[in-house]
Amino acid sequence: MSSFLPPSERNWWSTPVGKQEVIWIGIALVWCLIMFLMMPYWHIYGKQNLSNEAYQTTPERFQSRVDEMVTQYKVGEQAGIPIVKPPAGSDVYMLGRLWQWYPILELEKDQSYRLHLSSMDWNHGFSLQPVNINLQIIPGYEMVITVAPDKAGEFTVVCNEFCGIGHHLMLGKIFVREN
């Protein structure tokens, strides 16, 4: 009975540690180091990394950027939401608000875009399906990531951060077309 009694050796620090524990700690430590190195490795050689680019913004400022893009590049409408086709390589904007992603984007396959994301009100979750890319969208912050869609098709943005009673209604679309 000793794990809940004071240790039998007063100087327990200098009691030798068993071989088995030493080996296990060594293996576990090496594994922890490998896991650490994987992250910088992926920053250098991997293709899926988030940028560190973000700005403080206000809903009004972000909204006006979005509106500017919509008037300039609108090509259609679906369910009352404008479909926007900005040129390849440009800055594209999408905002989250209760309970909608706005606008619908039309992108070209294998082209890269600087995607700006922000929220007009509460936290939202940008969850691109079925690719399964998930980002946290926070009001007052504008996140910029460079995306390069490598498959054509229809993609859906599900909101996956709880945002009130209409949370499940909050869907957006990104269409990726072959060029």
Binding site: Q20, Q48, G125, L171
Partner: protein, 577 residues
């Protein structure tokens, strides 16, 4: 003058006031678990899409209440009982400032009731995380603050009790390992509550109009200092309980005091920084910061858990081998008391915490891999493995030990108790595995309707995702059944369990001490150091615990394979930079 009683079965000493406090906290915890369990049933039956039980508003309300009652109230009440046990009982000393401890308990009860009322009223369905700028009623935050203050008082009572024990020289040498682990939990708790105060007090002031604006990103960073660190209290607490249980059941001693204590120290030094892994896909936080805080900080804490994962079952194996169970690799484990819920509960929680909770936690806490996991139902799957099975099942196992020792009652319906850890573990494992799968397919957490009924733009998840959520639902219902079995045994034992000797009389409900004549020892003798054992070689190949080592290697292989599978999956998504 403090009065003690000795438990005739276990030899544990109980200070009268500490004993009442332990009972009161344990009972309050069980009440919270009852609320959490009822709400869990509502949540799981709604996410089971074919049943889809609750309307949206009630679902979010139930989910908020379930999270807070299960993750905060049940666990922290129970941890208060553990702190008092690990200090007063294990060190055979009187409890410091019992009146303060009662005041703390009263605050916790008031806070819990206030918060539950706020959620029940319906205008505070903001989830446990209550991310600003989504706003709850002021008493939602105030309840949490009062609860935290009460818990903080409990932490200081624990520390004060350690000081009294040292001054009174109630023990020889160092404090026992279990108390050391509880001290770890206490220190992390103080850090956690400080973070909670920094963010919840301004949020409360904001909710009553004194502060105009709470920055949403700052809220997330600081809130997770509370939100994740509070889970580290649980880890430290339940690992301590694991050591206690192997000590009580097998007379096991730590394989090495130095290794186990150093591992606890790693928790204190590095765990609380690990809250960074909740904000890996947030804007405005640099990759360097994320990599530093998830790896340097987190992986040393992971190392600590991997160490405990070896030394806890290892110490049990060494003790079992010393008793002659030396055949093969696993006789020590085969011939363990599998029918005793204290053992089976402990061992299942160890396995599921390590294999499911630990591995998934590290994988999703990797900076880039988090992109394919953040806010999917994979996340609750992970923390149900760590908290609902790791911590909760450990506390359940401890309860079966405490009912005779602390409450002096025989177990009510012992066959139900015997099967309870099996039912609960099987149900939770099923739920966890299939929620992990559904999360990998992109199913969102905290989401009322995966059909998106009524949305202007539609979307359909693959059929497999629906199947997985259904199986998860079946597992969840089974888990709730296991929880109900626990409460039936616990409540039944307190009300109808056969009274055991030495307390012959007066258990009258929680907080009421036993008959005065029971407390016949006023100053227990000094706690001697553990007896020295002759060192004998029972293992093979120079290993003291070869079976445990094999289990640990199995864990490592699963870990490595699963880790790289996830990198592979990440590599298949759209390039991002």
């Amino acid at each position: 003058m403090a009065q003690f009683r000795v438990c005739p079965d276990s030899g544990f000493y109980f200070d009268k006031s500490a004993e009442s406090l332990m009972k009161a906290n344990a009972v309050a915890g069980a009440v919270s678990l009852l609320i959490a369990g009822i709400l869990a049933l509502g949540v799981i039956l709604t996410r089971w899409q074919e049943i889809h039980l609750l309307p949206a508003d009630v679902f979010y309300q139930a989910l908020t209440g379930h999270g807070i009652n299960a993750l905060i109230f049940w666990i922290i009440f129970f941890e208060m009982a553990i702190l008092y046990f690990a200090s007063s009982t294990l060190l055979r000393t009187r409890l410091a400032a019992p009146r303060w401890a009662w005041a703390g308990f009263a605050l916790m009860i008031i806070g819990m009731v206030m918060n539950n009322i706020a959620v029940l009223q319906g205008n505070s369905s903001v989830m446990m995380t209550s991310y600003a700028p989504m706003q709850a009623e002021p008493h939602f935050y105030l309840g949490l603050i009062l609860f935290a203050v009460g818990a903080l008082i409990g932490c200081f009572v624990f520390l004060g009790t350690l000081v009294i024990a040292k001054d009174d020289r109630t023990y020889e040498g160092s404090i026992p390992l279990v108390t050391f682990g509880a001290l770890t939990a206490c220190i992390i708790a103080i850090f956690t509550i400080a973070c909670g105060a920094i963010i919840l007090v301004p949020t409360f002031l904001w909710s009553i109009g004194y502060i105009g604006h709470i920055d949403a990103a700052m809220y997330r960073v600081i809130w997770w200092g509370l939100g994740h660190s509070s889970q580290q209290i649980n880890v430290a607490a339940h690992v301590s309980v694991w050591y206690l249980i192997v000590g009580v059941l097998f007379n096991a001693r730590p394989m090495s005091e130095k290794v186990s204590r150093s591992a606890f120290l790693l928790y204190i030094l590095f765990l609380q920084l690990a809250s960074a892994h909740h904000i890996l896909v947030d804007p405005g936080i640099s990759s360097e910061w994320k990599v530093f805080n998830t790896s340097y900080a987190m992986y040393l804490a992971v190392l600590a858990s991997m160490i405990h994962g070896l030394t806890v079952p290892g110490s049990m194996e060494v003790a079992q081998r010393a008793k002659g169970l030396t055949k093969g690799m696993f006789e020590w484990l085969r011939k363990a008391p599998w029918g005793n819920p204290v053992f089976s509960g402990f061992f299942f929680s160890l396995l599921i915490f390590g294999f499911l909770g630990g591995i998934t936690g590290v994988v999703m806490g990797t900076e880039q891999i988090n992109i394919i996991i953040h806010n999917t139902i994979y996340v609750p799957a992970h923390f149900h493995a760590t908290v609902a099975v790791g911590t909760t099942l450990t506390f359940m196992a401890l309860t079966y030990l405490l009912i005779p020792v602390l409450f002096r009652r025989a177990l009510f319906l012992p066959w139900v108790a015997k099967w309870q850890p099996y039912v609960f573990s099987a149900g939770m494992t099923l739920m966890i595995l299939f929620m992990l799968g559904a999360g990998t397919l992109g199913v969102s957490r905290r989401h009322w309707d995966m059909d998106f009924t009524g949305a202007m733009l539609g979307f359909e998840y693959p059929g497999t995702a629906y199947t997985m959520m259904t199986v998860a639902g079946i597992g969840g219902v089974l888990g709730v059944l296991g929880g109900a079995m626990y409460l039936v045994v616990t409540v039944g034992s307190l009300l109808f369990g056969k009274k055991l000797d030495a307390s012959a009389g007066l258990f009258q409900g929680f907080g009421v001490p036993l008959a005065a004549s029971v407390y016949n020892v006023s100053q227990p003798e000094r706690l001697p150091m553990a007896p020295k054992l002759a060192v004998e070689e029972h293992g093979s190949a120079g290993f003291e615990a070869p079976g445990t080592f094999a289990l640990a290697m199995a864990l490592l292989i699963c870990f490595v394979v699963y880790y790289f599978i996830n990198w592979d999956y990440l590599a298949s998504v759209w390039p991002l930079s």
